[in-house]
Symmetry: C2
Subunit: 205 residues, 2 copies
């Protein structure tokens, strides 16, 4: 009898229903406006029902973060096709900033709210948390640059990757928080940071 399987399927279907509704609310009204009662209204169930499928509001938010981060990774993926590691890093940076500005609510949720939400992306000690995977992408590019003897610093690749990450994150998060500041457009900031980092880190030519 497939009763057990059917229940499992219905369970994931209901979770999907909730997450879809939650995502819709976050996109339309912002993360802070996400409430269990609004989700319940949206899917036409009583508020209590959601707690039969999710432990808490935080679990829903964390799942949204996990998926949002997957979206971010997917938007960076095309850069992998670029052979030259320096150009690849540039492309990743530009894509990262673009994603953040085009999906402000998603980006806020992952990188600017409570640490416990970011935990769902970076937290798990697994060797391969989604966040660690993304960073590895950067680390490899720096390793390639080093192998090609194009780096003029001895700084370890993971540290260079972190530095690049904080820089692009700074651009996105400041733009999302301070309306009107920084006055310089995001793409110009990205270009300045890129040129400064690369002219500073790479050998001429």
């Amino acid at each position: 009898m497939g009763a057990v399987e059917r229940r499992a399927r219905e369970r994931t279907e209901f979770r999907e229903l909730v997450l879809t509704a939650a995502r819709k609310i976050v996109l339309r009204q912002g993360f802070e406006a996400l409430s269990m009662r609004k989700i319940a209204d949206e899917i036409e169930y009583a508020p209590g029902t959601i707690y039969l499928y999710f432990k808490s509001r935080d679990e829903i938010a964390q799942e949204l973060c996990r998926r949002g981060f997957e979206d971010l990774l997917a938007s960076l993926a095309p850069a992998a096709a670029i052979r030259d590691p320096a150009k690849r890093l540039t492309d990743i940076g530009e894509r990262y900033v673009r994603f953040g500005l085009e999906h402000p609510e998603t980006y806020r949720m992952i990188f600017m709210e409570d640490p416990k939400f970011a935990d769902s992306v970076f937290g798990e000690k697994e060797p391969e948390s989604p966040g660690a995977r993304a960073l590895q992408f950067l680390v490899e590019a720096f390793d390639e640059l080093r192998a090609q003897k194009r780096l003029r610093v001895r700084t370890a690749s993971p540290k260079l990757a972190d530095a690049l990450w904080v820089a692009v994150h700074g651009i996105v998060s400041l733009k999302l928080t301070c309306p009107g500041y920084p006055a310089t457009p995001a793409d110009e900031l990205t270009a300045i940071v890129r040129s400064a980092l690369f002219d500073g880190l790479l050998k001429p030519g």
Copy 2:
């Protein structure tokens, strides 16, 4: 008769009482735990009373931001004594990062929450909002470098100032949101960013 003056004084005294209590709560329990009822409890007044002195919770939060930013500015001030503009910029960056990490709740409140809070620092169209004043501090240093012909880029000083700002902000805000990431310690990140920016922007020597 000084009745009018006395009322005005009592008014600012009560506001001060509220703000002090609010600050205490934010520091002890975090910004999200700040509530009108907790403030009322702390100062031993009814919740409604606070509304006779503040328009809303947001007004209190904005005033806390304004003061928090003044504290940040004050913590950067000693850097002004440094003659060499490059060393001055380095010192400002280090002080900025240190302030952010040592006052996480204050920093969060100003730069990572709702844009309306940051508005109290950067918003007003006055020529001299606190935020604009702070940025001017950076702009002047870059202007000095340019006057000394030590810059190897033509990029306008305000844009270079913005770029430096987003970089240090990136370090602080990522450290505050992602526990454990970036793995590289903040001071190392600061050093990498500094060296990359300066080696990239400044002429050798």
